[in-house]
């Protein structure tokens, strides 16, 4: 099957540039957001959802008298109509607005392309799924997961002269091995499927970890020293946006990003939104055509600043107001390859689930631990423990980090187009399981 940009790049840029040339607005941007993805989902001894999905949307943002309006369409032949309609809506506003109009005029074309991802075709993905199911079956367990490849395409033309285009590959893999009441999980995403790390050895390790969770016992309520795996750490970092680093909150005087320089985490914790980083899903500009700046969120534990439209983080949410969001969050690695060895009595937590904000002021979230979680005794993984509910301050925990791992993995940021968070494992103290 073809594995290419959903819209021919030359056609895409000409279409957008032509639409901009004909626009009758004070300012206009026309952006093509497209993705062609193939996803092999498996569970219950079968590939149950083999999917090939191409989606595309051209978003027109027209500004008249300071008022902005957006019209989007999936049909390329409707783009001129979308420009006219957006302009008419913006023009209909009866007073003067203050919509920001980026004035950049960059013309460029990026190719974040990995041939290994292009070769990660349906037979290769099915073979990987079959291998995981076989490995699990041999120990009396079951495998479920998803492996996929995609091409993401973003093109932007604007009346200030920008004409930008990027095509990027994307590889994704996740695996859950269930063994009775126990389970283990692994996930990663990257522009390169070779860098994904979903190898036969990885499968073997996840199967072995799942087997070790057999007969897991309830976790007593209490406060623990924890080692959080990369996925659990990434889930915590995914809250930085709603704790104040996503745009809009700081403007309203809400959240931690109103206090640059304030210490909220250990000096071992440095987190940036970095679209130039090879990990995660980097992409060089946003849907307004603005180059993504590297935005330090936490610098050695101190507050940096929020992402904004001006830093290249414009984002239109589906069921809510558009607000800038961090989209390629990356935590700096540490130096320890075995964080567990540094814990005399504690817990290893592989993954969190259904985490939600409870109290923005206190940075408190709730959720449950999930999959392969173990007691740590004398620097080694010991008995498996069941998932348990926690209610925990994100910054309290990040302040108590005393070890950061080397290996990092990435996961998607929910509901953010092309969004990901990349994190290493961390060791921290004072994690509370159970009610307050």
């Amino acid at each position: 099957m073809d594995f290419a940009a959903p819209v021919d790049p030359a056609r895409a840029t000409e279409l957008l540039a032509s639409a901009v040339r004909r626009a009758d607005a004070d300012h206009v941007e026309v952006a093509l957001l497209a993705r062609a993805g193939e996803y092999t989902r498996f569970a219950g001894e079968r590939v149950h959802q083999a999917q090939n999905i191409t989606e595309q949307q051209v978003v027109v943002r027209a500004v008249v008298n300071g008022h902005a309006a957006r019209v989007a369409t999936s049909a390329l032949d409707r783009v001129p109509d979308a420009v006219r309609r957006a302009t008419a809506i913006a023009r209909a506003a009866d007073d003067t607005g203050s919509a920001w109009t980026p004035q950049h005029d960059t013309t460029d074309d990026h190719l974040l392309w990995h041939e290994d991802t292009a070769a990660f075709d349906a037979p290769a993905r099915v073979a990987l799924a079959a291998h995981a199911m076989t490995e699990a079956r041999q120990v009396g367990a079951t495998a479920a997961g998803m492996v996929g490849r995609a091409v993401t395409q973003l093109a932007v033309a604007s009346s200030s002269g920008a004409l930008r285009h990027v095509v990027a590959t994307e590889a994704t893999g996740s695996l859950t091995i269930s063994d009775g009441d126990g389970s283990a999980h692994w996930a990663n995403l990257h522009r390169s499927s070779d860098a994904l790390g979903l190898t036969p050895q990885t499968v073997q390790e996840v199967v072995a970890r799942a087997v070790r969770t057999r007969g897991r016992q309830p976790l007593p309520h209490g406060t623990y020293t924890v080692v959080l795996g990369p996925e659990a750490t990434g889930e915590l970092l995914g809250f930085l946006g709603v704790l104040g680093f996503d745009g809009g909150l700081a403007d309203a005087g809400v959240g931690v990003a109103t206090e640059p320089g304030r210490r909220v985490a250990s000096e071992l914790v440095t987190v940036t939104d970095d679209a130039s980083h090879p990990f995660g899903l980097p992409i060089p500009f946003d849907a307004l055509g603005t180059t993504k700046a590297v935005v330090p969120l936490l610098i050695a534990g101190r507050v940096g600043g929020p992402v904004t439209d001006r830093t290249g983080h414009a984002h239109v949410a589906r069921e809510s107001l558009p607000a800038p969001v961090a989209a390629n969050v990356v935590m700096a690695p540490g130096t320890e390859d075995d964080l567990v060895a540094g814990v005399a009595d504690g817990l290893y937590i592989e993954r969190f689930w259904y985490t939600r904000l409870v109290d923005r002021q206190a940075s408190t979230i709730t959720g449950v631990s999930r999959d392969a979680c173990f007691r740590i005794v004398d620097g080694r993984l010991a008995d498996p423990v069941r998932g348990a509910r926690f209610t925990q301050s994100v910054f309290d925990l990040l302040s108590a980090v005393d070890g950061v791992g080397i290996e990092r993995r990435a996961q998607p940021i929910m509901n953010v187009w092309n969004g990901s968070v990349t994190a290493p494992a961390i060791r921290a103290h004072g994690f509370r399981f159970g009610p307050r």
């Binding site: 079968r46 959802q49 309006a69 049909a75 309203a252």
Partner: protein, 485 residues
């Protein structure tokens, strides 16, 4: 132009021709195929304190084709221009199914009937043909009247969509859906605290299968003013205590409780393990259906997409199964699941018509339809009388439940002390937690004040959205663990 006459797929004949083109492309090469052709247009208008109006219109038109080859599914979706795209999608779906043959345990569907027909949402006033700006501006002003309000959003949304469906058995269906919704969300800051209030639903507002009349009936300005004042009042309200207490949960909070602990727990694909890698499984097993005591005798929960006017209303689900009423929980006993063709065939359980998908681009999976708690008797005040001493809590603020839909923790925007059946002090940061069967087993009584709320819901890999609804009356629960967060 009527509310139902717009777009490229208004003509059923055009839709049918494209469906046939896709089916023809795999004719004789699959034991089953179905095609969904969807054209959708969505209007969203938001006004926010200190910002310009955000107005956007989104249009999409595409096709999703699913085939079953030697018991293995393949699915492909494409934006649609002409019949070539329809055939391309069908061929891609076929190729994916072929690639997975031999490594997958096959599914065998039962003999399917032919179900054809048309359906349209009943609409009073076309929401795409009204001027909503003045009302939204007035509502925003009302919400922002107190100086402690630092953030406020008022929004309006409307969506219309044609869904043409056909399958290789011969079913041909044409549905036109139209929905309308509103949102008020207020944040107040002061006294070292930040508090939020929302109306009419804390989940991206409330949306129903209706026209502009849905907005008119909501008294947006009056309610915006109310939640603005309540957000400010919460700043100085006492924090709700930690204890074990009897609680009346309001309709909105109960609707989310149903969504998380009933709807998701009864999705048959979860029960069978299809979603274990991401969304999770269920504490309910296939063998539990018909016997598991899930709740008290006061708890009867129904799936019924034939109820008109909800975000979960339809005549056919997204794989062509006619809508039907199914009792999920009958007087506390699990009787049915939310099932699809695939899951019901594998589990040997009844097909309940709960295959839903996000537009044309995603494969149908088990999602809730219109799932609601059957009302009991008496008003909210009478339920509080019955409560005696305890708390009344309403409007969800925080929600979390484990991957088996068993252990949950919810927070509400507001709570009130209830003493001798009378509402007293306003309390903030109310939370409660528990396990699903114990919670539902502790339901003593259900009032008659059923309210219905529209929800978005995410599931699947890649993640897709479904749009559904839940109805709930105020509910009295005894012995609830509160103040857990």
């Amino acid at each position: 132009m009527s509310a139902h006459g717009w777009g490229a797929l208004a003509d059923d004949g055009i839709g049918s021709a494209l469906v046939e083109a896709a089916l023809d492309a795999v004719d004789g090469r699959a034991e089953y195929a179905d095609v969904r052709l969807v054209e959708a247009e969505e209007l969203r208008v938001y006004r926010q304190l200190g910002a310009d109006v955000d107005e956007r219109v989104e249009h999409s038109l595409g096709i999703g084709v699913r085939v079953l080859v030697d018991g293995v599914w393949g699915f492909a979706a494409l934006p649609l221009v002409d019949s070539v795209d329809a055939a391309t999608a069908a061929r891609r779906a076929h190729a994916l199914a072929v690639a997975a043959r031999g490594t997958s345990k096959p599914v065998r569907l039962p003999e399917l009937g032919v179900h054809s027909g048309r359906y349209e949402t009943t609409v009073g006033q076309d929401p795409f043909a009204v001027g909503e700006q003045a009302l939204l501006a007035e509502a925003l002003d009302a919400a922002c009247a107190p100086r402690e309000v630092v953030s406020a959003q008022v929004g309006f949304n409307a969506k219309r969509q044609y869904r043409h469906f056909g399958n290789s058995v011969g079913s041909r269906q044409h549905q036109h859906f139209l929905e309308t919704g509103v949102l008020v969300l207020v944040m107040a800051a002061g006294h070292g605290d930040v508090q939020r209030r929302s109306y009419p639903n804390s989940f991206h507002g409330d949306t129903a299968a209706a026209g502009w009349e849905f907005v008119v009936e909501r008294d947006l300005v009056g309610n915006a003013a109310r939640v603005g004042e309540e957000a400010v009042a919460l700043l100085t309200a006492p924090v709700a205590p930690s204890s074990t207490a009897d609680v009346v949960l309001g309709s909105q909070q109960m609707s989310l409780q149903i969504h998380e602990s009933t709807g998701h727990a009864l999705e048959l694909d979860r029960i069978l393990g299809d979603e274990v890698n991401f969304a999770g499984s269920s504490f309910i097993g296939v063998d539990d259906v018909g016997s598991l005591r899930y709740g008290s005798p006061a708890v009867t929960i129904t799936s019924d997409p034939t109820v008109l006017g909800t975000r979960g209303s339809f005549a056919f689900d997204d794989e062509g199964t006619p809508a039907r009423r199914s009792t999920l929980v009958d007087a506390g006993i699990v009787r049915n699941t939310l099932s699809t063709l695939d899951s019901s065939a594998r589990a040997g359980l009844p097909l309940t018509g709960a295959a839903r998908s996000d537009g044309w681009a995603y494969t149908p999976v088990c999602f809730a339809t219109h799932v609601y708690l059957e009302p009991g008797t008496g008003t909210l005040d009478e339920l509080c009388d019955r409560l005696g001493d305890g708390y009344y809590a309403e409007d969800n603020r925080s929600w979390s439940i484990d991957e088996r839909r068993l252990d949950f923790q919810f927070g509400t925007e507001v709570a009130y002390e209830v003493r001798g059946g009378k509402r007293g002090r306003l309390l903030k940061n109310f939370s409660y937690g528990g396990s699903t069967p114990r919670f539902w087993g502790s339901v003593e009584a259900v009032a008659d004040d059923l309210r219905i709320f529209g929800y978005p819901c995410g599931k699947g890999e890649p993640k897709q959205w479904s749009f559904l609804s839940h109805g709930a009356p105020s509910t009295l629960v005894r012995g609830l663990r509160i103040g857990v967060a």
